[in-house]
């Protein structure tokens, strides 16, 4: 085989949630950083590209998760629910699933996880506030709460077992921003790749948190405590600004979805009833 693992080139890398929106973006991009990319999901993964191995697994299945992590050097964990959904779905995929993932990492001695957290961990901060990486969580719904749980779980597994995690509080990973909120929260797919690769290859991350956001002019988050990760965004939402602002109605400042960073998450989902 012509692939040689190095300190930044993994022998086998695992990507969960590979069939999701972001998973499909990262799947080909991550291939360049490993000899073998194991991809997993419960949705259809298509056929394996060269250097890929398909490994479907349910997050709720502890044994399956343990097998899934066997022999991998690092996990990029995008799997699970990524929108506001009923408790049962979030419980299974994001709480039980995250626990199963970390137990599997412990059993299989996987040293590092890149964990897709979310900006909804702090969605109940106001839009006139700049949140730092050590400010308390203020989740805006069950989804955000499950990601808060995941971050704390990762903290525990680092403190007890030395498993390193970078928690990516991803903003809005989209081809381009589409409204006023995403002007502030947007991250391009290229920047997302930069962020994931930096998180995988930074020499030491311990338990780190970082917002996954581009080099936008308007910003709600201060990443300076995560400089050791070495993420440098290149893309800014600024070039989309005038088009979006001129076509959107003025914001309704009495709507919680306008006031708080989490947007409609703060008033939608099963809790809204």
């Amino acid at each position: 085989m012509s692939c040689y693992p190095t300190s930044i080139h993994f022998k086998r890398l695992l990507l969960t949630g590979a069939a999701g929106v972001l998973g499909r973006q990262l799947r080909p991009r991550l291939k360049a950083h490993c000899c073998l990319l194991r991809v997993s999901d419960i949705a259809d993964l298509g056929s394996a590209a060269p250097g890929e191995e398909l490994h479907p697994a349910r997050l709720e299945d502890a044994d399956a998760m343990s097998r899934l992590l066997e022999g991998v050097q690092a996990v990029v964990h995008l799997g699970g629910v990524s929108t506001e959904q009923p408790w049962e779905a979030i419980l299974q995929a994001n709480i039980i699933g995250a626990y199963n993932l970390y137990e599997a990492a412990r059993k299989q001695a996987v040293p590092r996880v890149v964990f897709a957290s979310s900006n909804h961990v702090t969605g109940f901060y106001r839009r006139d506030q700049v949140v730092g990486l050590d400010d308390p969580a203020r989740p805006d719904g069950l989804y955000g709460l499950s990601k808060t749980f995941g971050e704390d779980l990762a903290r525990l597994y680092f403190d007890r077992y030395g498993i390193e995690t970078v928690c990516l509080r991803i903003g809005s990973a989209l081809p381009e921003p589409h409204d006023r909120r995403t002007l502030a929260t947007w991250i391009s797919y290229d920047d997302l790749e930069r962020l994931v690769v930096a998180s995988l290859t930074a020499p030491m991350v311990g338990h780190s948190i970082i917002y996954g956001v581009g080099d936008n002019a308007v910003g709600w988050w201060d990443n300076h405590l995560a400089r050791h990760i070495g993420y440098q965004p290149q893309d800014s939402s600024e070039r989309f600004r005038s088009r979006i602002e001129s076509s959107e109605p003025p914001p309704d400042m009495t709507d919680p979805a306008t006031i708080y960073q989490g947007g409609i998450f703060v008033r939608s989902g099963p809790l809204a009833k």
Copy 2:
């Protein structure tokens, strides 16, 4: 009926976990603060004292929890697992159970919860550190992690629904301290009562966190950001100090259970295997 609810005298108060060690202590003490004390547990509750109503309910049963909270003005939630146990037990009682509790509070419009959290939420801080109420959580095991979840859940229900919670990070509620660690973490039953009553009756608590600890000389926690609750401990572990220190072997400074605040929790339980 001769009982008149006032602003500090509840018409009906709910105590969960009433058959547990702390529940049995608080059950008679809380009676003085309400016309009717509803007590709940899955263990035997004995017979109802005057002014009490027994209402067994499983935390995992969402409907039962909703009925349990019907007509109450406040909840003191001691229910659930309070030691390091296998994930499944903690998941059911402390994660699903806490979710059910808050959903019930929302449906039944219960305005305030006093939530028994734990010092194990921050058990991975060292014993030469003083932890403040806004420092990040560092849970020391699955139990501590479940309490971290409960605190964040309470935050969400305050931000979205205005349900107030005081999270009590209880230290070691015991008749008296019994080792070096509990000299720092001890809270007497009388102080625990003071703390719970202050949390129930403080005019406004929003989402507050406070360590449940006495007026001990050695302390690891700084409660000054919770002065609005009005808790003033009266009992100190100091009078037990010389007896304990002279009878205990010198601490083994290489043992994580000695280095970290969480004590043996940091290396015991199902994760220890």
Copy 3:
């Protein structure tokens, strides 16, 4: 004359607002700390007690103020409006009046002022928050705003001219607390005297801020950055608590006057129209 000024016994001390509620309390108490107490007000000051000299002056009259401060070693400035009132009244007494006071202090080389500020400087903080002495001002009305102005004015006169000031953010100076809010904000007249005397006699105060509040159980303010002043309150509102709480209706948590520390100030006065 049998009076000898010392480092803590002033030759001549000025008390403004001496005919007001607090002025009448402090007037006889301050006499013990000076050879001569000059008292001023625009209301009737009665007749001069031994060791007193009456000196009525309008705060709005710059020349009168300059004469008023002639020959005094320190000023306790209670004068001006102390409730929410129309802008014109506050402008004259508290803004122009404060400016005249400090200009007079500069011209007459008076080295220290004890300035009656108010907790309404921070009245728009919530009651589930503990405010520190370096948190930004959030005045709750025109009165609070005028006191914020006074504190900043005092800062300027210290930075430019070295005139020292202790700004007393007085809570509720009353014979006893009379509602839930004053349980948290109460300061007894004895403690107020302790506070004023400590502020007058502390060796060096620069520009200091301190909340004027007793040793109450429930508290919203953290004075630890003012330990150099040496104020130690002795009186607690705790003994009034059960009587007040049992007779008051439950707080209406939708009322800004209940949510914010400033109480009815946050929704009353000329701005309320």
Copy 4:
């Protein structure tokens, strides 16, 4: 009419102080952001350009100010005194005038003000200090004090009435820097325009403070807490540096005007006598 208001294109925008140095710069630039630009001053405003309406008004005249704000969606308030002057002038224009402005905004339901504050709000910090947006004010004279008052007044009107303000602590807005101090404090007219437009159009600003300064190498102010406004300066004083530094005498480190950020303001004006 061919002008359509959008969420960033105001139907009617008010610029006060339009005849002043900065007003004359911003007047043509702001025209691009509104259908109608109402300009006001007490000095001669010249003739109305297309899309402009002239509306002279005295800041001290409450009724005139109320009429001035009728029908506008936002105010850029440059009006008032912008140098150290005698108290009476500052009192009238900057204290009474600011109050009149905000009362007018309240009566006319104007939702946002861009308020020209000043770096002299913090002029008594030293030049070897970097000031953050939450550091306490240290005004360097009556002018700075009046701007501190304006910032606090704006805070009050946001907390009570929801009127949003961005307080611009403008450094030195000049065609180019002309001495060592302005190398650190300089903001180009283009950057000033960027700052004002960002402040007008940011979706939510609450009560925000931001220093109005360019992308200079040497800087005394840290704007990171205002990232939500989205101001990104483009111009740096660096290209003027060598010329200025080589032609200026060495700084006199015993002069307060050299030590403190406020420069000659700290020792000039009516207070200097």
Copy 5:
């Protein structure tokens, strides 16, 4: 022998500087906490009391220091220069001496040092400031500088070798306060004993810093980050206050010795020439 070492009762404890003013106070008091008290100094130590062993040694003599620490479980290091003196004296006793002490502790595997640092480590803070334990050092002379060195040296030996130290920034340990400054800085001999014993017996101290000061009303230092040590002062300077204040001339506010916490240290000593 009837002495049994326990976790708080040392088999052999070393006191350096035992012939100095504070050494003579602590020598008999420390005897109660150990089977054998080794006392050292270069001055005359008198004769050994029961349970004492005399061991003179020069701090500058590395080999002698190594022998001095042989077989001891803990060191209370009062040795060295404790006043402002010429550089050569401070260099030898406090810099080289401190290095020799820690090298000896490393070689002899002594696990804990109680290091007599000094308030002069922060003597250049002003008296209207309250200094916290994590504020940067601002030594007021060569003596304070040498103690700053000692604190950092102790930090190094903890980080590299796990040798624990409590740095006691002793205020003014005197029979009673004798001037305005010592009203703020006084610590009684009884409180000093409490502090040293707490530092010796606290279960875990890592590298800790604490001010050695009594329960005085006026205070410049905030010890709350050292609560894990368990020091609770009992004695206050308050009862000496009126006598001192009434007999002292008013402070000269232009004198650095009055402005800064360090008192005359800030302008005396060999640097004053």
Copy 6:
């Protein structure tokens, strides 16, 4: 002579350690900023270039140091030991030498020193932490400790005598980075020149600390509190990253030299025995 000193062009500038690795780099570069460059070392300095004067001096020789600083306007102090070495060498060159330097500056009235400190002042912070300029020192060896001493010494000489210092905590000044650690710590010689020149010419620096590091992607240090110095790095290690990372073995996360910022300094040198 055609050289005219200006506010940024020194009449006579002193460079110590001119024969060392960094000294040889800075020697020709500094010549552009002064009429006369005095260069000093104990190693061979070669022959004097135009505008240079050679002045060998031993740091341990107080009189020689005093003569060395005679007639200079500023010192760039690179002299002394710059690696981990036995205590005696560090004591002589870096502790006694630094003291002699500052005494000489005081005697010769030299107003500013640019002091080559080191990142080893904070070498015991972990690589997953970002250190700010006001975080406590955590030296990683005797060399780092000596630089901590130098920084505190400089603080003292500023507080007492007004001698300004910029302490440069230099990372790894090299032609290019050569391993994973230097990717984070690298500073190019051009950036080092920018840093030294900014430190020499910034109008006011008081006692400032700044990390000497380039514009690298991965970074462990936050310089934002030193913006008043005006250092703007231009060179990034990023272009060397892939080559280094692909050729280095994976980091050993159990090695303190990998965990801590100081690298091998944390376990090497005389203390390692």
